[in-house]
Symmetry: C2
């Protein structure tokens, strides 16, 4: 199940002709209410694509009737003309659904710097509106239509025992993909929830899931995570329960994004404990996760804790080599300023790897989700646009 | 010519048996005076190797008689025992030269977390002292003995028209090498120069050369740059002239380090102009230089300015997409918020690539020296210690 799992939603994915391949490339997700509450989080990149600027603006009134998404072009760095294209797309969706453009968010993914083929986009919107359905298949088609270099669609759906549920789909992962593959996520719920609570829940969930997925340090011009609430279950969950289930759906999508990231042969959890602050824990985790020497060692199944110690030391966090401890897959290799165990005791043959770093200074913690750096990554990312 | 270019210096490089291969692995550089002024800059990594802790301490009195360097082991993360090994090495050098250990700096490079074979190190010191010579060959032997995964020794020597000169050798480049290949640099001069002026000149030169060489973002536990002044020319240059020539020698070594960095197929200058501050310019340059999507595109000879725009936008600097301009090899591809020229107009076939980024905000500038990210990098760095 996916965005069509919760009650009150229809979806569609069609081949609009934006991609020359003829693959699915335009998705529409519609909230049939009765409630139309929505929230979003967006890329912090200073160079924002036109659809991000548009969607940020319409989300100000915390309400969405629909989201239209396209692959085959990011509509980023396209100037005022690109913004007009996004506006025209939202107007078209509004027209076919009988609503206002201010109730329509737009997401795009693909190469930066190219204008979209608007004839294909606008006729695709009409086709998609005619294909809208609440079935599992319709949700899958939408999840498939946003794929760029993704090898599989990523979907999640979790229900609460009280009877409400949260679903969603995702594509990309940060900037890991050659196609400047933005991370786009659409989440849906039939829980009854106030706009402020929905916004707070999304920010809390994204902060410990999508914000901590770091494959190559990239932050796309188009990254967007949206959540839409239909209220169709007529159930009003406690905010804590809602945030918890939303976080679980987001984490499920994060695991799928990581597993499908280009060239990855290892799924790596970098767990930082004992930090002076949560920001320190995040800094250390991200520095280790982005370090190419650590990542290539993991690709080689080499438990090279010296490279991890180097990366920890160069982070901007408060670090004391004498209180630092580094364990890989449960074996502490470095502690008290020196070697704690022989590295040959660590087996990195499996795909899942856990790097546990205890700074031994405070009590803050954070987990960053990353991958190794392989020949596949270099191959796919050096052979794209030219 | 190299460290033995300036008058008043002798050097040696010997095979002490630290490396199992039997290659040269221990170098000694001796300042025969009459002046023994010295300065150093060291890694900012919080996890510092024993020889860094030692050399920082002895440099407090701004004076050095000799530098002893070994490859085959970094002596990092080796605890109090490792520090004692460094101390014993300095004492041995002091003994054979008839000076105090406080006048001897120590540098090490190799794998982190392993103790050095001290019998080999100490007997190597004796052998090296016997081989000390002021010849070009002796300087080359020293430059060769510090190599780890370097394929060639890196040396430079430049003389001022007034008759004084500066020489030096270097190995590694940041953390680019699989052997945790620290950057070690020893510079020598026969100019007469006061300790404070020497220190200031070194910091000024390093700030725009070694500090701006960024192959993979790594900062070794062992990075060390030392400069020793013998005063043997009996000439006292103006501080500006000295700083200028020292910077030229450092830049020459930076180019050699970059050209020899593992797997590199492109030499890339990232030139940032129009920044609100020099720190902003450095931030933008480093973010672009460390971005794996930019680096893999360059490996593929792909002028993918969209990835550069993404990296600029995610830097912590003040960035306005509407004033930003990006040129590759002299062709402006992005300006005024949109595409300025077709990317096919850029030829990236040659090894040298210039990325020019104008932020259009202020007047500060910085250049970062980097490389592409190739299969060779992944291969060499994934196949090392295991």
């Amino acid at each position: 199940m996916t965005v069509t799992g919760p009650k009150g939603f229809r979806a569609a994915g069609v081949a609009a002709g934006i991609k020359e391949s003829g693959a699915l490339d335009l998705a529409l997700v519609v909230n049939d209410g009765p409630q139309h509450t929505a929230a979003g989080v967006f890329t912090r990149n200073a160079v924002k694509a036109a659809p991000v600027l548009w969607s940020q603006e319409v989300l100000r009134h915390q309400r969405l009737r629909a989201v239209v998404l396209n692959s085959g072009g990011a509509n980023a760095a396209t100037g005022p003309g690109g913004f007009q294209d996004t506006h025209a797309t939202a107007e078209k969706v509004a027209e076919v659904l009988g609503t206002g453009a201010i109730d329509v968010a737009v997401c795009s993914t693909g190469l930066i710097g190219e204008r979209l083929p608007m004839d294909a986009v606008l006729s695709g919107v009409v086709t998609a509106a005619g294909a809208l359905d609440a079935t599992r298949e319709a949700g899958l088609a939408a999840a498939t239509a946003v794929m760029t270099t993704d090898s599989v669609p990523k979907q999640s759906w979790k229900s609460h025992s009280d009877g409400w549920s949260i679903g969603g789909f995702a594509k990309g992962a940060g900037m890991l993909a050659p196609n400047l593959a933005t991370m786009l996520v659409v989440l849906t719920t039939d829980a009854v929830i106030a706009p402020e609570a929905l916004d707070a829940a999304l920010r809390a969930a994204a902060r410990v899931t999508f914000d901590r997925l770091d494959v190559d340090g990239g932050t796309s011009t188009n990254d967007t995570v949206l959540v839409l609430s239909s209220g169709a279950s007529e159930l009003s969950p406690r905010v804590d329960d809602f945030t918890e289930l939303l976080t679980a759906v987001c984490l499920d999508l994060v695991y799928q994004l990581r597993a499908d990231s280009e060239g990855a042969t290892k799924d790596v959890d970098v767990i930082v404990r004992g930090a002076a602050s949560e920001q320190d824990a995040i800094n250390v985790g991200r520095t280790v996760a982005e370090d190419n020497l650590v990542k290539t060692a993991l690709f080689g199944s080499d438990p090279n804790w010296g490279r991890i110690a180097m990366a920890v030391g160069r982070s901007q966090a408060e670090v004391d080599p004498n209180t630092l401890a580094i364990a890989i897959n449960g074996v502490t290799l470095f502690a008290s300023g020196t070697t704690a165990a022989d590295r040959t005791k660590v087996d990195l043959g499996a795909r899942a790897i856990e790097i546990a770093i205890d700074l031994g200074i405070g009590s803050s913690t954070a987990t960053i989700y990353t991958t190794d750096l392989s020949h596949g990554y270099v191959e796919e990312n050096s052979a794209y646009s030219s």
